[in-house]
């Protein structure tokens, strides 16, 4: 049996799953949007209550294909989707794809920085508490619970009040460059670190007190060696398992954080689209996010298999 064959099979299955979910997500979104009361044409012309003329509304309908039967609209929507055309934003009057292309990179950058910071914080606290005995463990556990309970927006406000207003160290709104990234990234990172820390610390504690750690000590390994060579790897598994959840949490956090810091990004665009009922933009962002989610979970599955080949072995034998 070549080791590549099951992996390839698995990847193909995953790919099929991704296509299915993307189709389902866009279909659900497409029809859900039709449940919106009121005339979408009004949103195009300038939002509800704009008292647009009947002609303007009719033009808008024709331009966006809203005057055609629903099924035809759906098929055209799928057809456009297959050719990677996400349509035009009602409010911004430019293509959804270009809006996403503009706003995705800053959000990605923010998320990656925040995730890295969160992992470092979580790991540092976990490592300290694992080595520091019971009191350190209790303190770390308490800090983690509190960190996980802090809403992003409140943390952002505290950060602004403290570091911008009082101390004047950092800009209150996001400016280009690293100094504008610090507060938003920290805001996103702290609650995430709380969750990550809880999971990692538990796994670290389990690994440090496991029989194989005892074997390692019995062959002369010191505590640092047990931590780095053995325990760390074990704590990575549950942390990686949280990746899909973390993706959602970062995205939700980005909506809040980008709004507060007036930072351009996918989250803020999404919120504006939701508030302005900019249907094509909402649909486009939803699809892009779903795709991102699927990519993240696929990547984490792959990573889990690499770290713990038992998972792959189990899946094959099943």
């Amino acid at each position: 049996m070549t080791p590549a064959a099951p992996l390839l099979r698995w990847l193909l299955l995953r790919l099929g799953g991704v296509v299915f979910v993307l189709w389902a997500v866009s279909t659900v979104t497409f029809f859900a949007i039709r449940l919106i009361p009121g005339d979408p044409a009004e949103a195009i012309v300038g939002g509800p209550g704009s008292e647009a003329s009947a002609d303007a509304l009719a033009d808008a309908r024709a331009e966006y294909g809203l005057d055609q039967p629903l099924l035809l609209q759906y098929l055209r929507f799928l057809g456009r989707l297959a050719s990677l055309d996400l349509g035009r934003s009602y409010a911004l009057h430019q293509s959804v794809a270009s809006v996403i292309a503009d706003t995705l990179p800053p959000t990605l950058g923010l998320a990656v920085v925040a995730l890295s910071v969160a992992v470092v914080i979580a790991l540092a606290v976990a490592a300290w508490s694992v080595r520091g005995g019971r009191a350190a463990s209790a303190v770390a556990s308490f800090l983690e619970v509190v960190a996980a309970a802090v809403p992003h927006f409140w943390l952002a406000i505290l950060g602004i009040v403290l570091f911008s207003t009082a101390l004047g160290w950092l800009p209150p709104v996001s400016v280009p460059g690293p100094s504008g990234l610090i507060l938003p990234a920290l805001t996103l990172a702290v609650p995430l670190a709380g969750f990550l820390g809880q999971v990692m610390r538990e796994a670290l504690l389990d690994a440090m007190s496991s029989p194989f750690a005892l074997s390692a000590r019995a062959r002369g390994e010191n505590e640092n060696g047990v931590f780095w060579r053995h325990a760390l790897r074990h704590s990575a598994i549950p942390a990686i398992g949280l990746a899909g959840w973390a993706f959602g949490s970062l995205l939700s956090g980005a909506v809040v954080v980008e709004t507060i810091f007036a930072r351009p990004g996918l989250g803020r665009s999404l919120l504006q689209a939701v508030q302005g009922r900019d249907v094509p933009l909402v649909v486009g962002v939803v699809i892009v996010v779903a795709l991102g989610y699927m990519l993240v979970t696929t990547a984490t599955d792959l990573a889990e298999r690499l770290i713990d080949p038992r998972l792959a072995a189990r899946a094959v034998s099943r």
Binding site: S210, P211, F212, L214, S215, A216, R217, A218, R219, G220, E221, N222, G225, R229, H230, R233, H234, I307, D308, P309, R310, A313
Partner: protein, 579 residues
């Protein structure tokens, strides 16, 4: 880099003195009133194997850890704690580390062979760690040495195995890898904590041979085990521990043949192998007889003029396949009333699948099970359900067979309701199938109340209000037995019922099963890997391997004159307390 190990072979042997001397060792854990180890003293000569025997909680593993400086969180105190020339008392952390696993130091094989290796790392890496920590060997040298070591501990295909992770290795191979990591640099003392527990007996024999070989090359061994038979194979002297104290220490022969301390005597007597069928294993200090209210039912098979054997359970050509594996392959047997049929085999022999087929939890691919001559495995579940109380089960892991939310009393109550259903609805059937009630009329040996049930399994009444997880292993198994008999079965399938119990508890449970069999006329299907237990407990025996029955017949015949090679190999491998 590596500090000079105190007591390395350079030291002049002016006089032969023990390699290890332990004097009045006491280990105390915080917030525990009684010490885990209370002032024990023993010694180990260079190249000698000393056995440390005791039941769970007796303090043997704690003693081992104290010798390694790994009794974390405990307060270790001793008048004398010496290894070679090193006083182990108050040794600094780095000196302890230099001693553990190093050349001339102390190697350690921890308990739980199956989980003693990091599941996420290749085993070769684990072995190489010992070399990395104590020598300056390069990575290539370490890799080469790992292969040598794996070869030395009898690992087949060492190059392949070195790159594999523990889950890819069998239990025996994992234990060999652990041993390789412990002896990589030639320690003068090897501490082996339960090195054969949870391994099949043929695999056990291989591991014991390996340890014996290491000893013959000059390594002293402290062999820790709950199993007297294992220890008697290797150790020249045995130390017996009970509740933290050393109750007896002397030459193995003397301790086994003429135990001085009452506890040792009980321990030796409890080993089932040496006791024939029907002999009691537990001392008479324990309640022997059932409550007087229970009339003693003598099984018909015991009568000289026995009535014709009544078949209660019959398997005809049972087969079951899981994917590629033929778990059970055309197995047939009959079980008579009041009899015990032993089914013995190693892990993967199909004995547990056979039990599940008999219990109709699994459907056979071919063949059928008949109960009292009627359809059983072929009936639809709906029709089978009303007859399910006829056939009960007890398991190795009694605890997991109890709903964690319920108390022992609630668990037994549920089962009693089933039994009451049997009592009323199937009164006619019961009358015909239970000779006792047939003979004695109204005098019913079945206990229909909780109190009587607890009495019957010798549990205090207070047990009813407790949840099983707070009971000891033996008490849990008693609750399981009580639950099984509450439903008034004719047959009980016992799947490794005593395998995870200490030997003295095991003896009590085996005696209890014996008593219940004679009182209630039960038939047992007794599944075990332990030849000693099966020999003690069963009338007839089936030897299984790879799903097939290799040999069957009356237990004594099979054991004294085995015809299948495999049976002979099993018997040869089984550690036995020879006397």
């Amino acid at each position: 880099m590596s500090p000079r190990v105190a007591g390395s072979p350079v030291v002049s042997p002016q006089m032969v003195r023990p390699l290890v001397e332990v004097g009045a060792l006491t280990v105390r854990f915080a917030r525990q009133e009684t010490p885990a180890v209370a002032g024990i003293s023993f010694d180990i000569e260079p190249g000698e194997c000393v056995g440390l025997v005791g039941e769970s909680g007796s303090g043997k593993s704690v003693t081992a850890r104290a010798l390694l400086g790994l009794a974390s969180g405990a307060c270790v105190d001793a008048d004398m704690l010496r290894f070679g020339d090193t006083d182990l008392r108050g040794l600094s952390r780095s000196r302890w580390r230099a001693l553990r696993g190093s050349a001339g130091g102390i190697g350690y094989i921890p308990q739980a062979a199956l989980v003693g290796l990091d599941p996420l790392r290749p085993v070769g890496r684990e072995i190489a760690d010992t070399l990395r920590l104590h020598t300056r060997a390069s990575a290539a040298e370490r890799a080469a040495r790992v292969i040598e070591l794996l070869t030395a501990v009898g690992m087949p295909e060492p190059e392949l195995r070195a790159g594999q992770r523990p889950y890819e290795l069998s239990g025996g191979l994992r234990q060999r890898a652990l041993i390789a990591s412990a002896i990589a640099l030639g320690p003068r003392l090897l501490i082996a904590d339960e090195p054969t527990t949870a391994l099949d007996s043929t695999v056990q024999a291989g591991i014991l041979d390996l340890l014996h070989h290491l000893q013959s090359e000059g390594t002293a061994i402290l062999l820790i085990s709950h199993d007297l038979a294992v220890v008697s194979r290797l150790a020249s002297r045995v130390a017996v521990m009970q509740a933290g104290s050393l109750v007896e220490f002397g030459p193995t022969r003397r301790v086994l043949d003429a135990p001085q301390h009452p506890y040792t005597r009980r321990l030796v007597a409890a080993v089932p192998t040496s006791q024939p069928r029907g002999r009691r294993l537990s001392p008479s200090a324990l309640p022997v007889a059932l409550p007087v209210a229970l009339p003693v039912y003598t099984p018909p098979v015991a009568e000289p003029t026995a009535p014709p054997r009544e078949i209660v359970l019959e398997a005809r050509g049972l087969s079951r396949r899981f994917g590629e594996r033929q778990a059970v392959d055309s197995v047939s047997f009959t079980l008579g009333r009041g009899e015990t049929l032993g089914i013995v085999g190693e892990s993967g022999s199909g004995k547990t699948t056979l039990a599940r087929l008999v219990l109709a939890l699994e459907h056979p691919d071919a063949g059928e099970v008949r109960l009292f001559g009627e359809e059983w495995s072929t009936s639809p579940e709906g029709q089978r359900r009303s007859r399910r109380p006829l056939i009960g089960a007890i398991y190795q892991d009694a605890l997991s067979s109890f709903d964690p939310r319920l108390t022992a009393g609630q668990i037994l109550g549920d089962a009693l309701r089933v039994g009451a259903g049997v009592g009323e609805a199937a009164a006619v059937e019961t009358a015909t199938r239970t000779p006792a009630s047939r003979a004695a009329g109204g005098d019913n040996p079945w206990r229909t109340d909780l109190a009587g049930l607890l009495d019957a399994v010798h549990l205090p009444q207070a047990t009813a209000t407790r949840r099983p997880r707070f009971l000891s292993g033996g008490q849990q198994q008693r609750v399981a037995i009580a639950r099984a008999i509450a439903a008034r079965p004719a047959i009980i399938v016992c799947d490794e019922p005593v395998s995870s119990l200490d030997v003295s508890v095991q003896a009590q449970i085996l005696d209890l099963l014996d008593d219940l069999q004679s009182t209630l006329g039960l038939s047992y299907l007794f599944i075990t890997h332990d030849l000693g237990v099966v020999r003690h407990a069963s009338d007839d025996v089936l030897v299984m391997k790879d799903g097939r029955v290799l040999e069957s017949g009356p237990t004594e015949t099979v054991f004294s004159a085995p015809t299948a090679d495999y049976t002979r190999a099993l018997l040869a491998a089984a550690p036995e307390v020879s006397s």
